[in-house]
């Protein structure tokens, strides 16, 4: 018994730290995206230099978020990583098989509105969350 470390001293605390880091980068990316989207009309009257700066900031923060996510996945244990990668695979597949027909339906006016990238992002987010929850439930 003595050779065991106290609970949550290793893996759990490391993963918690990574989740907090990922959440911070995710929040920063959402803020940078909002600045890029709403800054031109509301903050700097569509001045090109500021818009380019906002785009650059968005990309830079996006790269930071990707690296934080990469670190998070790399430090997951093998089962958690399997669940995460399964959810990612389902998400990419759904995005592909839904995205192309959605764009075609817009092109030929099958749907009464324009295909917006945000709809695809919402679908991907929901698919990922549902897949992740299913994987977690399956191995609970």
């Amino acid at each position: 018994m003595n050779q065991l470390r106290p609970p949550e001293s290793g893996y759990q605390s490391r993963i918690r730290t990574n989740i907090i880091g990922l959440a911070r980068w995710g929040g920063a990316w959402v803020a940078a995206t909002a600045l890029m989207k709403f800054g031109p009309p509301f903050l700097w009257n569509k001045a090109l230099v500021f818009t380019l700066l906002a785009v650059g900031l968005n990309v830079a923060v996006g790269v930071g978020m990707i690296l934080a996510n990469k670190k998070y996945v790399a430090e997951l244990d093998e089962l958690q990583r399997k669940v995460y990668l399964n959810a990612l695979a389902v998400t990419v597949g759904v995005a592909l098989i839904a995205g192309v027909p959605y764009q075609v339906m817009d092109q030929y006016h099958v749907i009464p509105f324009h295909a917006d990238i945000s709809h695809l992002l919402i679908l991907m987010s929901l698919t990922f969350v549902v897949s992740l929850l299913y994987g977690t439930w399956r191995y609970r």
């Binding site: 065991l4 470390r5 290793g10 093998e78 089962l79 191995y139």
Partner: protein, 80 residues
């Protein structure tokens, strides 16, 4: 794949969380291995063996191998 992880853990009065921490994995992973829902990788099996001071085959075993051994023994008996 069957394993004796739960028995070995119980013999030492360890919780799943303590074992998970000792093996540097999540408690969910320990639970999934104990219930046979997930087979660990070779490095994790080695870590478990080292922790319990046993050989890997004393913790994990494949029932299909038992079947192979039985049929092999039956074949040898038939030949002799």
């Amino acid at each position: 794949m069957k394993n004796r992880l739960k028995v070995l853990r119980a013999e030492r009065n360890w919780t799943q969380a303590q074992l998970a921490d000792a093996l540097d994995v999540s408690r969910q992973t320990i639970n999934a291995i104990e219930t046979g829902k997930f087979d660990p990788s070779l490095p994790l099996a080695f870590r478990a063996a080292r922790l319990f001071g046993l050989r890997i085959e004393e913790i994990f075993h494949d029932p299909a191998l038992d079947k192979d051994h039985s049929s092999l023994a039956a074949e040898i008996k038939k030949d002799t």
